[in-house]
Amino acid sequence: PPERKRFYQNVSISQGEGGFEINLDHRKLKTPQAKLFTVPNEALAIAVATEWDSQKDTIKFYTMHLTTLCNTALDNPTQRNKVQLICAAVKFLETDTVCYRVEEPAALAELQKNEWDPIIAWAEKRYNVAIGSSTSITGPNIPASTKDTFISHLASYNMWALQGIEYVITQLKSLILSMGLIDRHITVEKAVLLSRLEEEYQIQRWGSVEWAHDYDLCELRARAAAGTLFVHLCSESSTVKHKLLQD
């Protein structure tokens, strides 16, 4: 289907009962399920408004990651509750990218050890857990106590922030890298590099194909950045309308 044309001149934000709203000319933005689009935090509203105001002739929804995240939080299309979201997030630890090691080629195995061991060590220290890594096809053996610690930690986040966390984990294919981002231990660029370590290794060996490699790289950076920003903005208790974030 052809892209929707930009049908509005002005984008503005206003404060309603449930939070901040986005106005496209005189129309109030709605979610895909036709709910009123409200966000709990002014900075997030401004960033969403900026996405809408950046659209030129046609509306490119695939570039509007913050809008998408807000829609997911408001509509909850997968109908998951907080417990289900947390379990989905922690389950990723069993197949965490940074824990899954190759044995060959030796250069890649070495690269994985040098780049991924430190971030695992950081997570083990920060959360006081055992994680480890594995070359086995079944992946690392994560102790139940480790999972419990992460479940407990994630439970401290509200529903909106959790949607964001689960999104970042799904994009990076790693709970550990995502926590590194959320805890501000690594930048988005670094997290994406670590997530794409094998691709980067192949690119260094064989060369880069702009229309594929750079394309994927930019897209993953955009999504990881959006998710991280979303989590941080939804977690700032001083600037957030709590009524909207109730689980």
């Binding site: 503005s12 934000i13 002014e42 900075a43 401004i46 960033a47 408004a49 900026t50 105001d53 950046s54 659209q55 030129k56 490119k60 570039t63 990651h65 913050l66 501000r184 231990h185 690594i186 930048t187 988005v188 660029e189 670094k190 702009e210 229309w211 750079d214 394309y215 930019c218 897209e219 950076r221 955009a222 950045a225 959006a226 991280t228 920003l229 941080h232 903005l233």
Partner: protein
């Protein structure tokens, strides 16, 4: 805390991205809510100074993350337009690829 570079560098980069984004709307970027929010946040927390306290570091991280978002979206879109956005070639273009021209039929097909 992640290695972020200089706060001033981040601020400059962020304002540059906001300027690019505003070029779409044709409105001076200094009028946009995003620009005003970023400037006032940096001023309020004085994030351009050399040594940063924790709150300032958190703000700097947020700014760097937002910069990454804006820049990556712009770069991704540019790549998309370049490589994936052209759609199908018209019959004239296809003929031109192999050195032909389509016949002119002013009265339409008989």
């Amino acid at each position: 805390m992640a290695a972020l570079g200089s706060p001033l560098g981040t601020l400059r980069g962020l304002l540059r991205e906001l300027r690019y984004a505003s070029a779409q709307a044709g409105r001076p970027y200094r009028d946009t809510p995003a620009y005003q929010h970023v400037i006032s946040a940096f001023r309020a927390h004085r994030v351009t100074s050399e040594k940063l306290c924790r709150a300032q570091q958190e703000l700097h991280f947020q700014a760097a993350t937002y910069l990454c978002l804006l820049r990556s979206v712009r770069e991704h879109l540019a790549l998309h337009q370049e490589y994936h956005g052209k759609g199908e070639r018209s019959p004239e273009e296809v003929a031109g690829l192999v050195g032909f021209r389509l016949p002119q039929q002013p009265g339409g097909k008989g």
